[in-house]
């Protein structure tokens, strides 16, 4: 059974007042990860086919075709892991 760790290479807390969290997907799994996210989340905006803004439940986040995603307003690691499990698995 797949886990979040199968898709995620690392998670970085970006500095800045925005308190963004950047999720980097494993290179070999990034296309599958993005495809899974697109199946579950609603695409609200696409910028040049590079940045995709999506919504899922009350969350808005951005996915990049390079295999990264930025999440905002995430309170803690547990909340992020729960969200990732819902949109990836």
């Amino acid at each position: 059974m797949a886990t979040v760790e199968d898709y995620v290479s690392r998670i970085e807390g970006a500095c800045g007042a925005e308190k963004d969290v950047i999720v980097v997907f494993k290179y070999e799994k990034k296309d599958e990860a993005i495809a899974n996210i697109f199946k579950r989340a609603q695409l609200t905006k696409s910028l040049a086919g590079i940045i995709f803004e999506l919504t899922f439940k009350n969350y808005t986040f951005r996915v990049y075709s390079s295999g990264k995603a930025i999440f905002r307003s995430i309170k803690n690691k547990e909340e992020l892991n729960g969200l990732l499990a819902e949109i990836l698995l």
Partner: protein, 292 residues
């Protein structure tokens, strides 16, 4: 305008010693407010600390001027040269710096190693901050008194306890030789040319705002900027998609972002390996954002 590395250690020392830290103001364009800095000195001042070049705005500070005022008040002058030594000729004697620190990783060297220059007379007076092998001349045990007598080595060995980071030191020395072979005047000239060119080209992009002074007589090598409608991290990841690496966030200088009233910023920086063609490519990508 300081990097956190020139704020946090002083705050820690202040808590240990009870000493007072006074912070000088920065003008809205990111330049140092010299009058305010000089007004902070008193006969109680022990040390002044200032970055030679800001790692966010690339503003070059007149540390020689501040060193003179510090010495007139009997204070020492420490210069953070992490952003200047890799990018321009720096003469510690001309600056009259008592201490000057810089890092290996910003000048083609490895991470985890840097240099702290200090005047020899000061080093001779200073106590070591750590103990171990190599930093002593002799350790002799007196059976009668049941204790060891130690005599310290001469500087700089007095401050280098234990087995040092030999690989790092050898690699950093090679980086220094490499840069010296090129010539630091040429390094600075190349970066100033690129900075000047990039500022002009970036100003063609309607959604791009440049922060701080754009006067290349006052700065070199770094351009902090924002893109309307995108966070700095969005901007960095957009550029990343085209193989262009820029930095985003606070750049370890949160207080300066408070001065600029920014949540974070994107930062384009240049070094000896960058070219005019790469800047053209970078601006093409920014112009793509313009069209979104």
């Amino acid at each position: 305008m300081e990097h956190h590395s020139n704020i946090v250690p002083w705050e820690i020392i202040s808590k240990i010693t009870g000493s007072t830290i006074k912070y000088a103001k920065v003008n809205s364009d990111g330049t140092l407010n010299y009058d305010d800095f000089e007004s902070k000195f008193s006969d109680k001042t022990k040390i002044a600390s200032l970055s030679h070049v800001s790692n966010v705005s690339a503003v070059i500070n007149d540390v020689k001027r501040i060193a003179k005022v510090a010495h007139e008040h009997g204070a020492l002058m420490l210069v953070d040269g992490a952003q200047s030594v890799p990018h321009m000729p720096v003469d510690v004697r001309d600056l009259d710096a008592d201490f000057l620190a810089f890092s290996g990783h910003k000048m083609l060297g490895p991470t985890g190693i840097g240099v702290l220059y200090a005047k020899k007379t000061l080093l001779e007076k200073m106590d070591p901050f750590q103990g171990g092998g190599e930093m002593i001349k002799e350790v002799s045990f007196s059976g009668a008194r049941e204790q060891c007598d130690i005599s310290l080595n001469d500087p700089p060995w007095k401050f280098e306890a234990g087995t040092p980071n030999i690989c790092g030191a050898v690699a950093l020395a090679e980086a220094v030789k490499y840069l010296e072979k090129i010539g630091m005047d040429l390094v600075q000239g190349h970066e100033c040319y690129l900075t000047n060119y990039a500022i002009k080209r970036m100003q063609e992009c309607s959604k791009v705002t440049l922060h701080g002074s754009t006067d290349t007589a006052l700065k070199c090598g770094i351009i902090p900027f924002s893109v309307q409608g995108l966070s700095s991290h969005d901007t960095a990841l957009f550029c990343d998609n085209y193989g262009i690496m820029i930095r985003s966030g606070y750049h370890c200088a949160q207080p300066l972002h408070q001065v600029f009233k920014l949540q974070s910023s994107a930062r384009a920086s240049f070094y000896i390996y960058n070219t005019r063609e790469e800047i053209d490519r970078f601006v093409e990508v920014l112009k793509e954002i313009d069209q979104l």
